[in-house]
Symmetry: C2
Subunit: 319 residues, 2 copies
């Protein structure tokens, strides 16, 4: 049997970040060796604390959690998504605020340095938040791209609208300069954009199954999604439901979700101050020819999935 | 019986512009009262000459044709689409180069002024080229928006890639500043973007029917599409075929094509110098809720059509 694959998760925990973490932690083939946090859904410090709360829930106090950037490479934070993720950033689900562990003494970049050295040539990164930590790590660790197998990013919008602006998705518009740096770096990059995450939707049926399963994890996810359904679902879909953005990216990383349209294409991030700031400009012009090989492509982009992942997700979470 | 609706066509004739003109000229319910030309597929002067050639073919020497802008509001012309439309701009179809009529003594803006005055409150505009003439007319004629019923534009890309760049469609990127001015002007605007024009595809079946019909018009269109199939079809679709961009917009104007998804939404043109320059940033975030009413919307955008227009088009062209 092959040993589990070491994965570092960079996140802004977050309702859907928590789902992604719990999904990965439930798998035998994945070893979450460290978690770094960044501003986005909440402050990096609060997101780290929330991560510890999630790890506590599943008894994984051994995984180091390091606090990263509180602001983007350029400019200031303009927005934290507390209206979607609740005041505590975890859907006000009632998960205890007290934890018995502390965050790492290392910074996020230092933890990335250490883990990428220890697991050089084997480590994969799942990045489901603004890409500031990863960009800082690229600037700080000259051979980082050589140490890492690949990076899977939840973010962007290829052939659909954004969410935080008409053109841009939240993770990317929080730090477009970082995203451009990470996507154009010399490592295999996979983008899991709104094109697919918005069609992988948790519904009341899934919530009922989570409630019925009645495990600590399923109860927690049912509670967080209750909040998320009300805020996210009503705003975006007009009914109680929710996407599970970050968990979809985790499942693309594990290979449990294999997008049916998944070309390697050129992606550029709009770093202007115009109306397109933060857009991931994906060259999907090959779509009418079935996406022929594009040698200059810098990113594999998930463009179509079948919407069945939420069933797999709740099974992994105990329902 | 209601009198035919006066329509001014602003174009850069062009293979698909010619189809749009012939389609409109074949209809009893439309009165093409004037045509203005602009740089794009070729120079404005060559496009005007090509327009006269098309009008000659159907014996409509009475329609005034005025030459407009040879350059965008900002910057210079970087590109003429002669590789797609042939050296003569009409698919090198063998249509006689000699015409018995001359272009109007009026400039494009002067003709727009005269016709919008004569047909005030009734005139509609079909704009299937860079929007420089229309923008110049808006700048020159203060009450133009009051005189015009509406404007239907072939251009842009909402939730698909562009064609001239990954983000931008050719008509818009030729003059983004003009497009922004026209789309945000105080008149009803309809955008017919690549989202729908790229799925309304003429095939060899249509060409065979045009050849079999054996009229002057059907022979001409069959000849121009032969060239267009080879250049456009092979490049974009990998098979001999072609979209009929401008004719789709003409059919949206007449109402023969009614897009099944056709919301009024906010559209902004990217006028930066970044990678998104010329993109039409369409706020399609309402798609997951069936596009609820957006009072701040400035443009009706055709997002879905059923691909059956080419059958109607060739019928209108005699096949």
């Amino acid at each position: 049997m092959t040993p589990p694959v070491p994965v570092l998760v960079d996140c802004d925990t977050g309702v859907d970040d928590a789902m992604a973490l719990l999904y990965l932690l439930a798998r035998d083939d994945i070893d979450v060796v460290g978690i770094t946090t960044v501003f986005g859904n909440n402050t990096a410090a609060q997101c780290a604390h929330n991560t510890l709360r999630v790890l506590e829930l599943v008894g994984r106090r051994d995984i180091p959690v390091a606090v990263g950037a509180e602001r983007p490479l350029v400019g200031e934070v303009t927005y934290l998504a507390t209206h979607v993720h609740g005041n505590d950033g975890l859907g006000d689900s009632g998960l205890p605020m007290e934890v018995s562990t502390a965050v790492s003494d290392l910074s996020a970049v230092e933890l990335i340095d250490r883990l990428s050295f220890e697991h050089a040539g084997r480590l994969r990164i799942l990045a489901v938040a603004p890409l500031t930590n990863i960009a800082r790590a690229l600037e700080t660790i000259p051979d980082l791209t050589d140490r890492i197998v690949d990076i899977v990013i939840m973010g962007g919008a290829a052939d659909v609208a954004g969410n935080q602006s008409p053109a841009a998705e939240a993770n990317i518009i929080h730090d477009p300069e970082a995203a451009q740096l990470v996507i154009s770096a010399a490592w295999p990059t996979t983008l899991v954009p709104l094109d697919v995450t918005m069609v992988e939707v948790l519904t009341e049926r899934h919530r009922s199954m989570l409630i019925a399963a009645d495990t600590p994890v399923s109860r927690f996810v049912a509670a967080t999604t209750d909040f998320y359904f009300e805020r996210y679902g009503m705003d975006s879909y007009g009914v109680r439901c929710s996407p599970c953005h970050d968990a979809v990216a985790a499942a693309v990383l594990t290979g449990e979700v294999v997008p049916s349209v998944f070309p390697v294409i050129d992606v550029q991030v709009d770093c202007t101050d115009g109306p397109g700031r933060g857009a991931t400009i994906c060259d999907t012009r090959g779509r009418y020819r079935g996406f022929p090989s594009m040698p200059e492509g810098n990113c594999r982009v998930a463009l179509v999935t079948d919407g069945t992942f939420p069933d797999l997700l709740i099974a992994a979470l105990g329902a």
